[in-house]
Point group: C2
Chain length 412, copies 2
């Protein structure tokens, strides 16, 4: 592992010094290569799918693993989009001349070597490799063994596209699932600048507690939607149903609905029946249950702290905006928080007092996503506030340094 | 400790919601209060100075501890400068409307609660409290016991200035030196968002290895100056002497000089005698010693890896720019790296291949400092690349979040 990390570090120095046009042409080569070799990719993917069958993976996991002609071609298209976006490293900004005549400017530079540990879909290999090449970072992609054949062929295709401009070690894929090997990588802070885990809470906790280098992570998405007394209730019903049911099991779906007591009587039965039509299991406080007139299970305090990742929603009546904010500050996960209100005053108070990577106002929480927010692909959504907060694109794989240009000036 | 951290977190929520004008007036109050109470501050400082005498602290440490009327008034002036700088939180940027008519924008927001652990001068209390208030962050300032009386009175003055707009818990000073108490704070990742250690390498390593929350740290400053074959040698001598001797014992002084072999003959004796006049102890390779004709100790490989923090300089002759870059990439500490050359091609190659928080071109490494680079005060200089790289001012105490404003849009 140390040899691999050293080689990657060395390759990253080459990558940092090549120009944007070369990186762009590598990405276009990668897109072409993916389209040309889509059948080969699918053949390898079939081996993973077969193993998934034998290991009785559930339908959702199998769907995430599956590659089709369309999905491979969509990956290629994504790579082209990343290639076409503006350059994120190299450019300078905030330039000024100081009293001594020094030119001082800041420059976006790559982080160096990124270690990505992921459990999810094979497209992560392509998305993250492309974002890394775009931002001049070398990357080590450690995927799960359930996708080992798919990840391997995709890694080979990326490496082929790097030639002859760059050493193939700029992008490494690993399929090993040995704990010791992962731990060995987490110890190598001199060669790996940052680790980004993406997957279940246990994986993330493990990486966070054991990595010697900084970690950027998404812990969980316990998102709320607050229906204010000044909400447009028609919009509100639509938003609740979308944020909970458009796709369940995702981090930016809501887990708890907070309803102002002034509107609970007119709102409860409508929203309850709209949700129950979508098969949502509701767990609410007594006030809401009574107001809804529906058959709803009573919520326990445990519900407020639970990220269901399923079609379940907890509902609480609050006496005021302040109580909603307090609830969110106690149970929120710094992911996405929504207020539905026509009152600008209430919107502003919510924004000023709620800490989350994305605040949505009269808009579904499902919009907190790199694609939706204009980043193209994303490496994940960070709920750790340092360095990146929210969706991470190529920009979040960079840092800034100072350049000081003089004519021999010394400090007096 | 947990109670203290909880109270600070709670106070940080109040701080995050008050406007810039109020924070500004708090800072001006603080500056006035400092000036008014300078004699009281000095009286408390005398107790620390007396203890320093009894404990035989060396002259450099005593000088760092000492407060005078001028120094207290300079602190007050610094606070006024921070107050007058533009607002760093709240403002939005990168605003755009997406296809669905959503307004998407980014906003600078505070981190929350910052824990600062420091060993150095009492002015850190005022500088860091002022930067924290400016950026709407609550801060816990854990200073060393050698400055406990000074830190205590300065902390009181800050807390007095917070009233009546903010809870005093927004800025807490601690003087305890109990390991367990520091460790207890490092465990509280739910209440403390980031820890910034500032002091000796051992303190920093300890915090880095034991904190559960992210750490922004300055590890060391092993800075190089490279004299290219196309250097203006007159400038070069000035720059070397300034970067080594203007102030020794600081992180942005150089520790190693790299000299291109083509200029070593004309450069060595001049630079050696200029440095020796300043009392610098030299340790050089054989080539340089021979070229200088001076009496110089031979450097060992250990010298290349040593941050002397004293008036000592190691010197190495290199065959090429590439060899200089390789040496820096092996021994550099990501702090400040300088090239002295009139060749734009060489400058660009150096910039493209060297990774440091600040690259200086024909300018002294001593310029890598928040004050010099336009930040006003600084919390320190980060050599960890994530989040902040180089001098940290108020901006580096913030992160960015997304605000999505809609009219009821849902995700299809």
């Amino acid at each position: 592992m140390i040899e691999l990390a050293k080689k990657t570090k060395k390759a990253s120095l080459r990558l940092r010094s090549i120009d944007h046009d070369t990186r762009k042409s590598i990405l276009f080569r990668l897109a072409d290569e993916l389209e040309k070799r889509w059948e080969e990719v699918i053949d390898e993917n079939k081996k993973d799918m077969q193993a998934a069958e034998e290991n009785n993976l559930n339908a959702a996991l199998k769907d995430r693993l599956l590659l089709t002609e369309d999905r491979v071609k969509a990956m290629a298209q994504g790579v082209r989009e990343i290639a076409s976006q503006p350059e994120v490293v190299g450019s300078t900004y905030q330039e000024f001349k100081n009293e001594q005549g020094l030119t001082i400017k800041r420059q976006r530079v790559p982080l160096g070597v990124i270690l990505m540990i992921f459990e999810s879909r094979p497209n992560v290999v392509i998305d993250c490799a492309a974002l890394a090449i775009k931002s001049s970072n070398a990357i080590i992609l450690k995927g799960g063994k359930e996708a080992k054949f798919s990840n391997k062929i995709l890694g080979e295709i990326v490496q082929n596209s790097l030639k002859p401009d760059l050493p193939v070690e700029c992008v490494q894929t690993l399929a090993s699932d040995k704990r010791e090997e992962v731990q060995a990588l987490l110890d190598l802070e001199h060669y790996i600048d940052v680790v980004i885990p993406r997957g279940g809470e246990r994986l993330i906790e493990h990486v966070y507690n054991n990595a010697k280098m900084p970690v950027i992570a998404h812990f969980k998405g316990l998102c709320h939607m607050y229906i204010d007394k000044d909400a447009n209730l028609e919009k509100a019903i639509n938003l609740v149903v979308n944020a909970k049911t458009q796709r369940t099991g995702v981090c930016n779906a809501i887990e708890t609905l907070l309803v102002h007591q002034d509107v609970v009587d007119s709102f409860a039965s409508q929203v309850a029946s709209a949700l129950q039509e979508k098969g949502t299991e509701l767990r609410a406080d007594k006030n809401f249950i009574q107001a809804s007139g529906a058959s709803i299970k009573e919520a326990t305090s445990e519900d407020w702290a639970t990220e269901y990742l399923e079609n379940i929603l907890s509902i609480k009546t609050v006496a005021s905006l302040e109580e909603a904010i307090e609830h969110i500050n106690e149970y929120g996960s710094f992911h996405t928080e929504c207020i539905v209100s026509e009152s600008v005053e209430a919107q502003n108070k919510f924004m000023a007092n709620v800490d989350a990577s994305c605040i949505t106002i009269n808009a579904s929480t499902r919009f907190n996503d790199g694609g939706q927010l204009g980043l193209g692909a994303e490496l994940g959504i960070s709920t750790t506030k340092l360095h990146a907060y929210g969706p991470m694109g190529a920009e979040q794989m960079t840092t800034s340094r100072y350049i000081v240009v003089g004519k021999g000036q010394i400090r007096e």
